[in-house]
């Protein structure tokens, strides 16, 4: 990673390689945004992380909020005091924030306010691949869709301008391939951030009791009319390729546009391409004109036929006879997963009746034959991960017979054998509450597993519910002292803020006690005997119980050791090893390798956590300086 201070350089015209998310961070600095809030989530995390690294130097305020709705509300407060603000989140974060967003659309903002929302087609690191462009229809908020890093930066400024003109929040919607692709970005001018504002009382506009809400709904609809004009005049909506014949026209946006232009080029098609950068409000007139100038229209977009639906509506008024291809009547392009140049080439070739220059089928046959027996390599818990110790303890104590609800974080990887912990996973915080329903109707022991950051994000109301309605569940909080999955961000339990300043630690055990849970214990999962005894006791409780398994993330320990120059002495297998494979079969640690039917240690991976020492029945594993365990 480059030193993120390159984002602070005030040298317009400089060209650098930036990740889409880093480009958004640069956009924040160029747009004079004074308040940035976020809850980390792939693929949006690096926006907040980049800003966190430079916030104090840049003179703006940044925070990791407890969750996405809190992030939106903090920023909405600031934006209503005239300060420019931005909130970044992953797509499902907008579900959490939706309650605030829907009504904030009525109230509006005074300082420009941008909500960056990163969708994840292909579920690279998500529980679903919902298409959040539909939120723009639901909320009436304008939406910009960049297709690369340069646009991601430039559109932050556009979004702030539109937001201030309309006094309305604006969505900036990226996807994984925009957020996580690096490309050249040419810098614009830096703007001095204003992070202090003034609150001006305006009860009619800002207090959404029914009488006021009715009026503000009307106000919102007036803003939508103005937003339409902005969209029709937007430089982000433009014909980027002009065909000669007027036969086919392609309409596309976001990452899909990149595949579309390369596919057109690859097939040597004579087509025009209309790129939509502002997709809500839908630029009816621009699209209508485009339809009139072509006989056939191909809509290339990822996930749902969001543009196609609106193209069809426009066609009814502008060009009822134009033929429209996409995914509504027939799936020329898939409605799930991400697109690729190949998928667009294939779809376009079929629509235009062109012969494919590459024989993909032959390539597939050869490839499939080669890889069909290859061992898969799914993601796994890291060597030294404390979750492995926790899952080992949970499995040992419950004999694998309990029902395990799990949650969003690295620990979702616990479903893989041999640990195999995780029977139900929906969304942030759901582990706590789904366990209660399961426990109520089955009477079987239920153990819900939640991470530390996820606990603060969404588990607390569920825990209160367990106490209030006396549900017999055991909540195991896997506290690794960081938000591990998304890149080690701090959270309320860490005692550090997004501004990198110290703060008061919110302790999970105190929160649980405060919620009224009678049995609350904290234990290091690497002390397997003690941890097992505690968990066993927790399961005997008549009502809800909470066990906090606390041990730092292995990646954090590794980084700390590197910083201090401490060399890890890896575990050693001694001659007493009988190759019983207990360590391998119970733990599934990537640092334990089997060669020629003998167990060995991958010295580059081993962190000397000592968990294998405590499970070896023959006492045949020695752990160096960093011995933990009983």
């Amino acid at each position: 990673m480059p030193d993120l201070r390159i984002l602070l350089q005030d040298n317009p015209g400089k060209r650098v390689l930036l990740l889409g998310n880093e480009a958004v961070a640069r956009g924040i600095l160029e747009a004079g945004i004074g308040v940035v809030t976020t809850y980390p989530g792939t693929p949006a995390s690096e926006i907040g992380d980049s800003i966190s690294a430079i916030a104090s130097e840049a003179g703006l305020y940044m925070e990791y909020s407890t969750n996405e709705i809190v992030a939106v509300e903090v920023a909405a407060g600031a934006a209503n005091c005239g300060v420019r603000a931005l909130t970044a989140m992953k797509h499902v974060g907008l579900n959490v924030a939706a309650d605030a967003v829907m009504t904030l659309a009525y109230i509006g903002v005074k300082g420009g306010y941008v909500i960056v929302n990163a969708d994840d087609p292909q579920c690279y690191s998500s529980q679903n691949e919902q298409d959040n462009r539909f939120y723009t229809l639901l909320s009436n908020l304008p939406c910009l869709e960049p297709s690369n890093a340069q646009e991601a930066k430039d559109m932050v400024t556009s979004a702030v301008e539109i937001s201030e003109e309309l006094e309305l929040p604006v969505l900036l919607r990226t996807t994984t391939r925009v957020s996580h692709t690096r490309g050249p970005v040419t810098y614009g001018k830096l703007a001095k951030p204003r992070s202090k504002g003034k609150f001006v009382r305006d009860v009619k506009r800002m207090v959404m009791v029914p009488a006021n809400a009715r009026l503000m709904h009307e106000a919102l609809l007036r803003k939508v009319e103005k937003a339409k004009e902005i969209s029709e005049a937007s430089p982000h909506n433009k014909v980027t390729h002009k065909g000669k014949s007027g036969g086919y026209g392609v309409i596309s946006s976001s990452s899909a546009y990149n595949y579309a232009v390369e596919a057109v080029d690859f097939l040597g098609l004579d087509v025009s391409v209309l790129k939509l950068g502002m997709t809500h409000p839908f630029p009816e007139k621009i699209v209508g004109e485009f339809l009139r100038n072509h006989e056939k229209i191909v809509v290339v977009e990822e996930l749902e036929p969001f543009l196609e639906m609106q193209v069809k509506a426009v066609a009814k008024d502008y060009a009822p006879n134009v033929k429209i291809y996409g995914k509504m009547n027939r799936l020329y392009f898939p409605r799930k997963g991400e697109l690729s140049t190949r998928l667009v080439i294939t779809g376009l070739a079929e629509i235009t009746d062109k012969k494919l220059p590459i024989n993909f089928r032959e390539l597939d046959e050869r490839y499939d034959e080669t890889v069909k027996d290859l061992p898969p390599r799914p993601p796994v818990l890291c060597a030294g991960c404390p979750h492995r110790a926790s899952f080992y303890v949970i499995k040992k104590v419950t004999g694998g017979k309990a029902i395990y609800s799990t949650d969003i974080g690295c620990y979702a990887l616990g479903i893989a054998p041999p640990l195999s912990i995780g029977d139900l996973l929906i969304c942030m915080g759901a582990s706590v509450s789904t366990a209660q329903g399961i426990s109520k109707v089955t009477g079987v022991d239920t153990v819900s597993v939640v991470g530390d950051s996820t606990f603060f994000h969404a588990a607390i109301p569920g825990l209160v519910n367990a106490v209030y309605n006396n549900h017999k569940i055991t909540l195991v909080v896997l506290d690794n002292l960081t938000t591990a999955m998304t890149g080690q961000q701090p959270h309320p339990g860490t005692g550090v803020t997004g501004m990198r300043t110290p703060s008061r630690k919110v302790l999970i055990e105190k929160v649980a006690e405060g919620c009224g849970v009678k049995y609350v214990r904290v234990v290091d999962p690497f002390r397997t005997k003690e941890a097992s005894a505690v968990l066993n006791e927790a399961l005997q409780q008549p009502g809800p119980s909470v066990v906090v398994f606390r041990a730092p993330c292995a990646l954090m320990i590794a980084r700390e050791r590197r910083r201090k120059g401490i060399r890890t002495v890896p575990c050693k297998i001694t001659d007493e090893c009988t190759s019983c494979m207990a360590c391998v079969k119970l733990l599934g640690c990537p640092a334990l390798v089997v060669r020629d039917e003998k167990v060995g240690v991958d010295e580059a991976l081993c962190t000397a956590c000592g968990l294998c020492v405590s499970v070896c029945p023959y006492n045949a594993i020695r752990c160096g300086e960093d011995v933990k365990g009983d």
Binding site: S125, E262, F360, C382, P590, V594
Partner: protein, 202 residues
């Protein structure tokens, strides 16, 4: 200019993203248009990781089209084979011999093929295959963590990347922390020399 399409494949933790970023940064220094695709989050945790580097005026998509890689940089044999979808008979494959066993292999549910077998299968796609002792040279340079830079050195020696070597080195200087720079420069040189010698007498 000719378009250049590179696929880098390996296992999470091998330094694939940094390798891609070094090449991408070098391309920008060269004044070229480039796209570097990355995978973050859950997929990274010890799983298969693929990154693409695409250089060229008309490049817009972040990912390489099937059968269109000019070079494949395989940090791990199995993952190299798993990405042969991108190879044609013209593709240069530089493959590290560092085998990392997936979890299923340790518990005995699947078997890892021998290195010779992997090479044989890769050769079914392209004859242009060079096995690089990246891990050995990385350790020789001073840290196993520089295996990615050994591979970049080898790629630079093959002369396929449309970027001057001094720009690759400049990118290395920019992206590697100062205290690790020396070992990384050494790793680059070792990889470079190794591939040059292999080219001379394959």
């Amino acid at each position: 200019m000719e378009e250049f399409n590179l696929v880098i494949a390996g296992v999470g933790g091998q330094g694939i993203l940094l390798a891609a970023e070094i090449l991408g940064t070098a391309a920008v220094k060269e004044g070229l248009n480039v796209r570097v695709s990355e995978i973050h989050g859950m997929a990274q945790r010890g799983g298969a990781v693929v990154s693409n580097v695409r250089i060229g005026d008309k490049v817009a998509a972040p990912t390489v089209l099937d059968g269109r890689a000019d070079a494949i940089l395989g940090f791990e044999p199995l993952e190299t084979l798993r990405n042969m979808r991108f190879a044609s008979e013209k593709t240069l494959v530089l493959m590290s011999d560092e085998m990392i066993f997936p979890s299923g292999v340790a518990v005995g549910s699947t078997k890892y093929p021998s290195l010779d077998e992997v090479v044989r299968q890769v050769k079914g796609f392209t004859k242009n295959v060079v096995v690089v002792e990246a891990a050995r040279m990385a350790v020789e340079a001073g840290s196993i963590l520089t295996r990615n830079v050994v591979m970049i050195g080898a790629l630079a020696a093959a002369g396929k990347v449309p970027v001057k070597i001094e720009n690759v080195k400049k990118a290395l200087h920019e992206l590697v922390p100062a205290k690790y720079l020396e070992v990384n420069v050494k790793a680059f040189e070792l990889g470079y020399k190794y591939a040059k010698e292999k080219q001379a007498k394959p």
